[in-house]
């Protein structure tokens, strides 16, 4: 199957005062339609930075990002905004919903931003809410929802603009492992049934058996992990010391 998203030799350098800090180095990877990929790695290894570049929030210092053959790495801010509005679905660590909107309005907001508020999208919002088991919550406000429900709304919102690719940065960090797993299972189901590509950054290695492939990041470099090691030794992987305590946001 053709790649839905392709990174070629991505590097990113931040300026820390006068000294350049290389956060990403020569990263290449690709995601196919219907694939659910995980990225793991210690804190500060550049996972969020990588996700931001794929998600058109940041531009890389060098290298190319292609979403569905479209080379977005050379785009101007105006065009990047369009890419985010049309091609990307974001799920953040905390659900990041708008407090004064009902569940349904959270989804309609996405249509509103893209100036595509119509009957068709209203029906779509209702369907998505239903898919994620939130039908009875359609008119609830954010403060009335549990953590897991919030994250499910965030997933529904991410699918609302019919994106090519879903990006999730630690979507389960604020949930207990049982809720977390449920949320990831729902995300997986949506990705498979709608044939999207998805990348999930996670610290919780117990979720990894749900993923098709795993990448591990360390010091700005990335390599693919064999699925075998996950299935055989979920605990040891965790204990292997992949988590220096520096900046840990768990």
């Amino acid at each position: 199957m053709r790649a839905i998203m392709k990174l070629e030799n991505i590097s990113k350098t931040f300026m820390d005062g006068d000294t350049p800090v290389k956060v990403l180095e020569n990263i290449s990877l690709e995601i196919k339609r219907g694939e659910f990929v995980a990225i793991v790695g210690p804190s500060g290894s550049g996972k969020s930075t990588l996700l931001s570049i794929i998600g058109a929030l940041l531009t890389p210092s060098s290298g190319t990002v292609k979403i569905n053959q479209e080379k977005i790495s050379s785009y101007k801010p105006r065009q990047l905004k369009k890419v985010r509005s049309n091609k990307i679905g974001f799920i953040f660590q905390s659900a990041n919903l708008i407090p004064y909107l009902t569940v349904k309005d959270q989804l309609l907001l996405v249509a509103d931003i893209a100036s595509k508020r119509n009957k068709q999208n209203k029906d779509k919002a209702v369907r998505l809410i239903d898919d994620l088991g939130l039908a009875h919550r359609e008119k609830s406000h954010v403060h009335q929802l549990s953590g897991g429900e919030k994250q499910r709304v965030a997933i529904a919102r991410a699918f609302m603009n019919d994106p090519e690719i879903i990006l999730a940065d630690e979507p389960t960090a604020s949930l207990d492992s049982e809720r977390g797993r449920q949320v990831v299972e729902m995300l997986l189901k949506e990705v498979k049934s709608k044939e999207k590509g998805a990348i999930m950054v996670t610290h919780d290695e117990r979720m990894l058996d749900l993923c098709d492939r795993i990448y591990r990041m360390e010091d700005g470099q990335i390599r693919e992990e064999s699925m075998l090691s996950v299935e055989n030794h979920p605990e040891p992987l965790h204990a292997k010391g992949g988590f220096p305590e520096k900046n840990k946001t768990l």
């Binding site: 969020s48 996700l51 931001s52 998600g55 929030l57 940041l58 105006r78 905004k81 369009k82 985010r84 509005s85 049309n86 974001f90 953040f92 660590q93 905390s94 990041n96 919903l97 708008i98 407090p99 004064y100 909107l101 309005d105 309609l108 907001l109 996405v110 509103d112 931003i113 893209a114 508020r117 406000h141 919102r157 603009n161 940065d169 630690e170 604020s174 946001t249």
Partner: protein, 354 residues
């Protein structure tokens, strides 16, 4: 748009409170404004509506028309320089008239009523048509029980006048002004033939020895106490404007700061600053318009209740001007919030806990 309305609906209390504050400030603003123009009118409307381009007084009077004295010789001097047909001496006399033991203070403006373009009447004869004892009086005297064809008994002057008509906006120092024929006054020796307070004329500005030609505006502001009163009221009005602009700017700015994280999310899911700014401006306009409407309602209600003697006057143009200025100030203030929202980076949405 939809976002702006949803937020107003959700945080009702917050927005209702700021609407109430702005309404109260605006109410005060309209009130002080109405009072300023009411006072100014009651003080000086007769001077504002003097039927001439220039008012000649002597220099010592320093613009205070009641203190001015123009002698017959000086009058002739003025007449040499200006068109005789377009000029008249003006004699001002304060006095008291009586009806059924009730006294009313009035101010006589005795002048040649067949010169110049006299003020319009709203009832009775025109000013040009009066003769002898006939006078035209400011309509505010009606509140004292006088009506057309009534007699004004003046015990100080030991004479009587007949009300031949009424005009409006002719008060001096809150007192009704009476236009009367100077010829009649001279014939009956009601005033000194030799002096009058001023000479009014239409035409170009001219210079005279020891005399001064003032425009109508200059005459009004030289009235004793006039500039002081209007000045302090204007200061209050200015401060109220500043306070209102400040309240709404600070309010929206604080709310904007509270929402930076939200703006980050909005930008991350594809919204631009224009989308966010549009919502904010809709909110500011809505709240400003609502406060304006409510305060106008309040002011209208109040004008129905206040006593008729209270000098209070509010005009459509004043309301329109105040409203437009208020809206403009609030919108300018909201630019601060827009600027702040523009600086929010979509990246703030990532990896940040609320």
């Amino acid at each position: 748009m939809f976002l702006a309305f949803k937020e107003l609906g959700y945080s009702k209390l917050k927005y209702i409170l700021v609407t109430i504050i702005l309404t109260a400030i605006l109410f005060l603003l309209f009130f002080v404004n109405g009072l300023a123009s009411g006072l100014s009118n009651a003080d000086s409307s007769s001077l504002k509506n003097l039927p001439a381009d220039y008012v000649v007084m002597n220099e010592e009077a320093e613009g205070n028309i009641t203190k001015s004295q123009i002698t017959e010789a000086e009058k002739q001097m003025v007449y040499e320089k200006v068109n005789h047909d377009q000029a008249t001496p003006l004699t001002i006399t304060m006095s008291t008239v009586k009806q059924d033991s009730r006294s009313t203070d009035i101010v006589y403006f005795a002048l040649n009523t067949d010169r110049l373009t006299m003020p319009e009447v709203i009832e009775g004869k025109s000013v040009r048509a009066i003769s002898g004892k006939e006078v035209i009086v400011d309509e505010s005297i009606k509140d004292q029980g006088y009506s057309l064809n009534d007699t004004l008994k003046d015990e100080n002057l030991d004479t009587e006048f007949k009300i031949a008509g009424f005009f409006e906006n002719q008060t001096y120092s809150h007192l009704p002004v009476v236009y009367t024929s100077l010829t009649h006054w001279h014939e009956n020796e009601l005033t000194d033939q030799e002096v009058s307070q001023a000479v009014l004329y239409d035409g170009e500005k001219a210079g005279f020895d020891e005399l001064e030609a003032l425009t109508i505006d200059e005459t009004v502001s030289a009235m004793p106490g006039y500039s002081e009163t209007q000045g302090s009221l204007l200061m209050m009005i200015t401060f109220l404007f500043i306070i209102s602009a400040f309240v709404s700017t600070v309010f929206f700015y604080v709310i904007t700061i509270q929402k930076t994280n939200q703006f980050g999310i909005l930008k991350a899911i594809g919204a631009d600053t224009k989308f966010i700014a549009k919502g904010m401006i809709i909110q500011v306009v809505l709240i400003t318009a609502l406060s304006l409407g409510l305060s106008l309602l309040g002011i209208t209600g109040m004008t129905k209740v206040i006593p008729a003697e209270m000098p209070f006057e509010i005009s459509i143009s004043l309301i329109a001007f105040t409203g437009a200025l208020f809206l403009a100030l609030n919108l300018t203030g909201s630019l601060l919030s827009v600027y702040r929202a523009a600086k929010v980076d979509a990246l703030e949405a990532i990896g940040r806990v609320e």
